[in-house]
């Protein structure tokens, strides 16, 4: 049977690895290519790169990172952040990434999902969703709202509606990030994850809040996630991916144990 995937997420700015808490106060913690290789050797099942480079003239630095990563690791990886059109997608895919993730750009111009799926196949297109809990209202019947610009801007879009819409438009996977849980290391937003995962037919990667291996066990069972994104807990070397996988294995959660 299929294994649950453990996916470290590397935030990259100007070609260097960073990890921020609630999107503020990012600190430089290393070379993304070196760190990607280290995680590959620890048994990461996939790697997510999120480019938070602010200025567009430095975008090509990321393409170079993607190229070097593709020469170094032989597992799938995706790139998100700053993907605005088909041309951005093509650059990243040609440099060697399997998948591109679209977030704000898809909210502003949903057609980018269907265009991307037509050009590169659904399996290439990950819909990244940043979500905040807002309470049930007429506008947000699920109680969760899509936010963009790193969580600063509310869109008025219901998160559950948007997940289904993304699937209809051709996204092959959803990376679901809870802004409330992100950076807290207090555990994933289980209700949100289960709600989305139960209502779409494509795989869901849970993101935001991982601090201990138990959190991953919870989101992969109660949260019904197909994969779990992790960051600080491995970036700060509190745990290795191997340790996390061994813990999940003890909990009878199937992950890939041989690599």
């Amino acid at each position: 049977m299929i294994s649950k995937r453990i996916i470290p997420c590397l935030d990259v700015r100007d070609g260097r690895l960073t990890k921020g808490i609630k999107f503020e106060g990012n600190v430089d913690i290393g070379d993304p290519v070196e760190v990607a290789r280290e995680y590959y050797e620890q048994g990461a099942d996939e790697i997510v790169f999120y480019d938070i480079t602010a200025s567009s003239d430095k975008r090509d630095i990321m393409i170079d990172v993607v190229r070097r990563v593709a020469e170094t690791i032989f597992i799938p990886f995706s790139v998100g952040g700053g993907i605005r059109n088909l041309d951005d997608m093509r650059k990243v895919i040609l440099a060697g990434a399997e998948k591109v993730s679209v977030n704000s750009a898809a909210v502003l111009e949903p057609d980018i999902i269907s265009q991307g799926a037509r050009a590169f196949g659904s399996q290439c297109i990950v819909l990244g969703m940043d979500v905040k809990k807002v309470g049930v209202s007429q506008q947000t019947p699920s109680g969760y709202e899509i936010v963009i610009e790193g969580g600063r801007k509310y869109t008025g879009i219901d998160a559950l509606w948007w997940a289904k819409e993304g699937e209809n438009l051709g996204a092959g996977e959803i990376c679901l990030n809870s802004i409330d849980a992100d950076g807290t290391q207090d555990g994933y937003e289980l209700n949100l994850t289960a709600l989305i995962s139960d209502n779409v037919h494509i795989p869901v990667i849970a993101s935001g809040g991982a601090g201990r291996p138990e959190h991953l066990a919870d989101v992969l069972t109660t949260g019904r996630a197909d994969a779990a994104l992790i960051a600080s807990m491995v970036h700060y070397r509190t745990y290795t991916i191997t340790q996390i996988k061994n813990y999940l294995s003890d909990q009878k959660i199937k992950t890939r144990l041989l690599w």
Partner: protein, 209 residues
């Protein structure tokens, strides 16, 4: 020299990088003369069957593949490159190359495992149960897992051509092997160490069982 068939289908760079890593010389080409000169051919692919077949026909690569298979030299299919060597694919209702009898089918809706519904595409790491040994799988631990991403699966009509199966709420053929052909649904170039070993074994294979 290894040749990778260039037919505008996605993951060619990934296959090339994996071959670089295992120090194999290769060409990426759609020129049938260059392909003829190769010792081994890799037929990769990501994308949809309809478009891929249209492109292959336009370049006459479908005909070329049939002639290559008769030379007895090794051919490896990967993902879409595996699906379209069968006669027919349900994806875009497409007539395919027909190197192996059978068809490519869509996973049925409502697959489940342990009471929980399974997602389509089948995306992620899964294992392969081999029905017999094969030189291309030599030295690989049976518990190894490989990276899959697909909504359709190969279904050859002759069970003898099934080398390996994978479980995803149902058992499907994940590796086909007939004489000098080996074809897999997963991506060896994205399957870490065991995947690289498969590519290495393929490059050393002479095309016999």
């Amino acid at each position: 020299m290894i040749a990778i068939i260039d037919y505008n289908a996605g993951n060619i760079t990934s296959v090339a990088r994996a071959l670089q890593n295992i120090r194999q010389n290769f060409v990426i080409t759609d020129d049938t003369q260059k392909l003829d000169a190769a010792s081994h051919v890799i037929f990769p692919g990501v994308g949809a069957a309809g478009e891929a077949m249209a492109y292959l026909r336009q370049k006459k690569l479908d005909v070329w593949l049939k002639s290559w298979i008769n030379t007895g030299k090794p051919l490896m299919g990967i993902c879409l490159g595996t699906q379209i060597i069968l006669d027919y694919s349900e994806e875009n209702n497409t007539e395919c190359i027909g190197l192996v009898a059978g068809s490519t089918k869509r996973f049925p809706e409502h697959l489940s495992s342990a009471g929980l519904p399974l997602k389509i595409p089948h995306m992620g790491w899964n294992s392969v149960t081999l029905k017999r040994t094969h030189p291309v799988f030599a030295g690989i631990e049976p518990e190894s897992e490989y990276y899959f991403v697909h909504s359709y699966y190969p279904s050859p009509s002759d069970q003898a051509s099934v080398l390996g199966t994978t479980d995803y709420g149902m058992s499907f053929c994940s590796v086909l092997a007939v004489k000098n052909l080996i074809a897999m649904q997963f991506h060896p170039e994205k399957s870490g160490r065991p995947g690289l070993q498969i590519l290495k074994n393929f490059c050393a294979w002479r095309g016999n069982d």
